[in-house]
Symmetry: C2
């Protein structure tokens, strides 16, 4: 917050006071001028003046009278969530999932498309543009009301430069993708790692609500995580924080193809599938390894029980390391981990309590496939906080 210019005149103060009023309105949903005055310590005349301006600007609405508290009824104010709209997009496997939302993050329209092939970069951008057109049409919104679009990509994104440093599936390696999309769509673009987007989604709308320090652990093709510390996304000095697939869990002396880390080589979905190859032959394309493994174990397969135990224990080791270093309030289990049954979660929890002094809460991700999209939308809200709408 409160960044940019560090010195300045009274104009700055006015802007900050407006921001604070906006925050209060958003926080309370509906609130009167008088109550804003009490909350913010600003005098009532000042609040009135600023509120009136913000009504002019279309950011606030009067929405009727509240109940009397012994005197004149208050005029309730509400944030105008329809003042602007934002878009989100997520590439997940070979589908493109998009949505348009109001400032509350509520979806107004949604759009999905199967991408024909492993996606040439140029083409994908056309898909994005087309989807955005559809969404605008479906929602009936004028295009100039759109603040920006958040795009979740597989791979390591460099937020500073707007490039992707590792992204095999899209073929965007190293290209200044953010700028490219921005130019094609004529919109501000926020790009980020898909796991980060999911993290943000769960944080603002899922099991992470109410916490301020959470780690989101994702087991899929690889193993990654998103880290939010004291309410702030932590990305690392070179945007490589949370790359927990590189932790030293499991034997290190295996194939070092460079791209994947020791932990994920052994205990990501493909890693587990490889270990289970002997007795788990009938694994379909889109289905979960862990689900299959659990079923197999429940049916009494000795090898499955053993492997499952090893996997749980390794995941628990990963969690223990994270907890030792970061001491989060909450750790969200996601990807393959959502299929763990109650027994398995208890198992992991018990290990943690044995190994570390202060174990965090453990919760499975709750938003399913929507997490990324919700996060993408909110990434734009984060980049255009209500405060920045005052500049427009």
């Amino acid at each position: 917050m409160r960044s940019s210019k560090r010195t300045g005149s009274s104009k700055l103060v006015k802007k900050w006071n407006k921001e604070e009023i906006l925050q209060q309105v958003i926080l309370h949903g509906q609130i009167s001028r008088a109550d804003i005055s009490k909350e913010t310590q600003l005098s009532r005349p000042c609040v009135s003046a600023l509120v009136d301006e913000m009504i002019q600007e279309g950011l606030l609405h009067e929405v009727g009278m509240g109940d009397s508290r012994g005197g004149r009824k208050p005029i309730l104010l509400e944030y105008n969530y329809q003042a602007y709209a934002i878009a989100g997009a997520v590439f997940e496997g070979s589908t493109l999932d998009m949505a348009i939302a109001d400032l509350k993050g509520q979806f107004l329209a949604r759009y999905q498309k199967r991408l024909s092939q492993p996606a040439n970069g140029e083409l994908v951008i056309e898909d994005l543009a087309q989807g955005l057109g559809m969404l605008l049409q479906a929602s009936g919104l004028p295009g100039d009301r759109l603040l920006g679009i958040g795009v979740g990509l597989p791979g390591v994104t460099q937020r500073g430069s707007g490039t992707v440093s590792f992204s095999p599936s899209t073929g965007w390696m190293g290209s200044p993708i953010q700028k490219t999309i921005e130019e094609r769509l004529g919109l501000p673009v926020i790009i980020d790692n898909d796991v980060n987007m999911m993290t943000l989604g769960e944080y603002v709308r899922g099991v992470g609500v109410g916490y301020s320090t959470v780690v989101y652990m994702y087991v899929g093709t690889g193993i990654g995580s998103g880290i939010i510390l004291d309410g702030q996304f932590y990305r690392g000095s070179r945007e490589a924080a949370g790359e927990i697939g590189f932790m030293m869990i499991g034997p290190a002396d295996t194939r070092k193809d460079g791209a994947s880390g020791v932990f994920e080589t052994h205990y990501s979905a493909p890693g587990i599938a490889y270990k289970a190859k002997g007795f788990l032959s009938d694994l379909k394309e889109g289905s979960s390894v862990i689900e299959a493994l659990i079923q197999c174990a429940d049916e009494g397969c000795e090898e499955a029980v053993r492997l499952l135990d090893e996997v749980y224990r390794s995941w628990a080791c990963g969690i223990a390391n994270i907890v030792s270093i970061l001491n989060p309030e909450l750790l969200i289990l996601s990807g393959e981990m959502v299929h763990i049954d109650e027994k398995g979660v208890k198992r992991i929890r018990d290990w943690l309590n044995e190994w570390v002094p202060v174990a965090p809460r453990l919760e499975k991700a709750s938003l399913g496939e929507q997490a990324g999209l919700i996060g993408a939308v909110h990434s734009v809200l984060e980049a255009f906080p209500s405060t920045r709408l005052l500049d427009r």
Copy 2:
């Protein structure tokens, strides 16, 4: 920065502008009113007025003329580092180490005392008070110039409540020690973990200068770390961040005494000494295990070579885990690790490069025993930033 009140009037603006001017003076060492005006975008009359006030308040000094740049010579201003003083204290083993310093962090006087016994809490506070008296006398400072004292303690400190939740050597477990000291000394007190103090010391005056995301890894009786992310100390949701002794490195099925973690059980100084007991009999009290081990290995002892390799590898694993999660710019090796020779550091570095994609810089701690004390002093400077001096 800029915390507390989120709204306010012109008075706030004035305060912020004063803060910014102070920052500029500190940053440049010596600077004229005109240059401050250019740097801060504040008008010259405004800068003049604020500077004059701050001279009245004793925070700034005029220190003579600068060189002409084609016109009237500028009057150079300097921060008055002597305006206030701060104290620091560190309990290290059975010695109490104290210092008094100016606002630059420069020591004005120092005091050391051997504590007779494992230190009863009450007594130790008396030692502290006595030391402070000595320091004030030695430096000739009036006591009201003292802003506060930073105290580094072994154990896990709870900064919020000002208590120590785990500290076997001092016997302060759970007591509201911060308040107790504050009342005895009549001074604001900052308490923190000794490793955190050392971290801060290296960050502001040691090898950490110039970096913003650093991890300080300490191997001693236990294994711990201090974490600074984007210039901010990170402490975790329950002040337990950086407790890396609990990482899952080494066999987990050893004695679980609860207090110490798996990693530190095996690879802290005592852990290593235990493993080396067979061939490293002549270990003196105050000397380093690693130093002895290295010497032994250099002399050709097979077992020492093997153990040393195991230790280095395990430490490297720990570093790899930290790096995977946090992606710091710099990792500082401290405690036993400062004794690692060039060969050993290279060894660790090579492993890291093999295991993780982006290894940080690796540096040994540079301040030696002073680190904690310097950090303690700076912890007070952090709590009383120049900005807060304006309130007095």
